[in-house]
C-alpha cells in the first residue's frame, strides 16, 4: 500500500486485479474466436451440403468467369464512383438549402417554404428506380435546349432529386434537435436569427447528423447501380452484358464485391466517428 498523497506505486492488490483482468480478457477473446469459427463452419456446411450447391457453385462462383468479367466490371464501376462523387456534394448542398427553406419564418418566403415541403413530400414518396426512369426518359423527351442526354448525367440527377429529399429531412431533424435555449442564448447576444442559425445552431446540428448522413451515403453508393436501367456502361450493366454472353451469374458477384469494397470502409469510418463522439462526452475526456 502506498502512503496517502505520496507518489503512486501500484499496490499488490492492484497488480493482482490487473492480472485477473488480463486473464479475463484472454478468456473472452478466445471465446469470441471459438464461437465465430463455429458459426462460420455451420453456415458453410449448410450451404455446401444443400442439394443445389454444385449448380450454384458453377453459375455464381466460377473463377474463370470472375477473372474474365472483372476488368470490364471494374471499368464500369469507375462510372458508379464518379456518379457518386459528383452527386454527393450536390445532394448535401441541396438538402441543406431545402432544410433551411423549411425553417424560414418570414411570410414573404412562404412560397419557398411551401415548395420545400412539396419537394420532400413528393420525392421521398417516389421509388428511386421509378424516378430514374421518369427523369432518364422523360426529361430528354421534352427536347428543351441544354438538357443533357447523357444517361449517366440524367441518372445522377434523378439520384440527387431522390436523396436530396432524404438528406433535407435529416438536416431538419438535426436543426430541430438543438435545444431552443441555444437559440435564445445566441439571440440574447444580439445575433440575428440567421446569424444564430449560421454560427450556433447549424454547427451543432451538422455534427449531430453526420452518422445518419453517412448512412444515407452508403445507401447512395449502392443506388448508383439503378442508373443501369438507362443503359450507361456501369458495373451492373457490364455484369449483365457478360452474364448474357455465357448464362453465368458470376459477373454479378464481381460487381457485388466492388460495391462492398466501397461501402465497408464508409461503415468503419461511421463507427470511428461515433466512438470519438462518445469518448468526448465521457468524464475525463477532452473538453
Amino acid at each position: 500500500m502506498t502512503a496517502t498523497g505520496g507518489t503512486w506505486v501500484k499496490s499488490e492488490r492492484q497488480l493482482e486485479r490487473e492480472r485477473r483482468r488480463r486473464r479475463a480478457g484472454v478468456r473472452s477473446a478466445s471465446l469470441a474466436s471459438a464461437s465465430t469459427i463455429l458459426c462460420a463452419v455451420v453456415v458453410v456446411a449448410v450451404v455446401v451440403s444443400s442439394p443445389g450447391w454444385p449448380r450454384v457453385h458453377e453459375t455464381f462462383f466460377n473463377w474463370d468467369e470472375f477473372a474474365g468479367a472483372f476488368p470490364d466490371v471494374l471499368r464500369g464501376f469507375w462510372l458508379n464512383v464518379r456518379i457518386f462523387l459528383i452527386a454527393e456534394p450536390v445532394i448535401l448542398a441541396a438538402g441543406l438549402l431545402v432544410a433551411l427553406a423549411r425553417g424560414l419564418r418570414n411570410p414573404l418566403f412562404f412560397p419557398l417554404r411551401a415548395l420545400a415541403v412539396a419537394y420532400t413530400d413528393v420525392f421521398r414518396g417516389i421509388p428511386t428506380i421509378l424516378l430514374v426512369y421518369l427523369v432518364g426518359f422523360g426529361l430528354p423527351a421534352l427536347r428543351l435546349q441544354g438538357v443533357p442526354d447523357d444517361p449517366a448525367v440524367l441518372g445522377g440527377f434523378a439520384l440527387v432529386l431522390s436523396y436530396g429529399a432524404y438528406v433535407a429531412e435529416v438536416f431538419r431533424a438535426g436543426i430541430d434537435s438543438i435545444h431552443p435555449s441555444q437559440q435564445a442564448a445566441a439571440r440574447s447576444l444580439g445575433l440575428t436569427r440567421a446569424q444564430s442559425l449560421r454560427f450556433v445552431v447549424l454547427p451543432q446540428a451538422v455534427r449531430r447528423v453526420v452518422p445518419p448522413l453517412l448512412n444515407d451515403f452508403a445507401s447512395l453508393q449502392k443506388d448508383t447501380a439503378l442508373v443501369a436501367v438507362l443503359g450507361p456502361l456501369e458495373a451492373l450493366r457490364q455484369a449483365q452484358i457478360h452474364s448474357a454472353d455465357t448464362f453465368n451469374y458470376t459477373p454479378f458477384l464481381a460487381s457485388a464485391v466492388l460495391f462492398i469494397a466501397l461501402t465497408v470502409p464508409m461503415a468503419r469510418f461511421t463507427d470511428h466517428l461515433a466512438i470519438r463522439a462518445e469518448r468526448r462526452r465521457a468524464p475525463g475526456g477532452g473538453t
Partner: protein, 249 residues
Amino acid sequence: MSDPLLRVEGVWKTYQAQPVLRGVDLDVAAHEVVCLIGASGSGKSTLLRCVNVLETVDDGAVFLEGEDITDPGADPDEVRKRIGMVFQSYNLFPHMSVLDNITLAPVRVHKRSRAEAVEQARELLDRFGLADKAAEYPDRLSGGQQQRVAIIRAMAGRPSLLLLDEVTSALDPELVTEVMGIIRELKDAGMTMVLATHEMGFARDIADTVCFLHDGVLLERGPAEQIFAEPAEPRTREFLRRVLASRRL
C-alpha cells in the same frame, strides 16, 4: 462498532495522467451521514463515482457491507441495486412522468409488482409534498421539485446507501431549503448518506462526520462541530475562511 457499511481503502484514480484521487481512505458506519467538503476539483465527485462503480479505481478497494465491489468479478449492476445516487443536474428522464421515473427501477430492476411500486412511489411523493405532481413531466417542475423527485427516485429502490453529489448546487437559494428538508428527513429516518456539498451551513447542520478533501487527498476528518469550530489542518482552516469570506460579499 461492527464492520462499516462502506469502506474506502487507499483509492487512487487518474484521468489522463492527472491524479484526481491519491490514496483516499474512508469508513462510513450504518446510519452515519458523511459530508465531503473541499474546493472544486478536489475529488469529491470522483470519490462518489468510484463508490457507485461509475468509475473503475486505479488502485485500492471499496467495500460495501464487507464485499469488495472493486473486484473485477463483482457485478456493478448488483452493487448499484444497493446504492442510490443523486446528481447535481437531477438527470430525470424527460420522456417519463414523475411516477414512471420513480417506478422504473423498482419494477424493472427489483422486479416488484407495478401496483406495489406505484403505491410506494405515491407514499414517498406524499411524504415529501409532491403528491400532486405524480402525473407531471419533469420539464414542468421547478428545479427544487425535480431534485426532490430525483432523491425519491433514488430511494425507491430501498438502497442501503445514498450518495448525493452537489445536489443543491444548481438550485436557487429558496429552493435549496426544500431539498435540504428532504435530506434531513432521510437522516432522521436512519438513512446512511455520503454527500458532496458546497453548503457549509448545511454540512455543519446535518453531518455526523465531515471530511475535507484537498487535491485528491482526504486531509482531515472529524465530527462536524470540531471541523468547523477548530480545524486541525491549516489548509482546512484556509478553505473554510475563504468560503466564509465569499458568503459575506
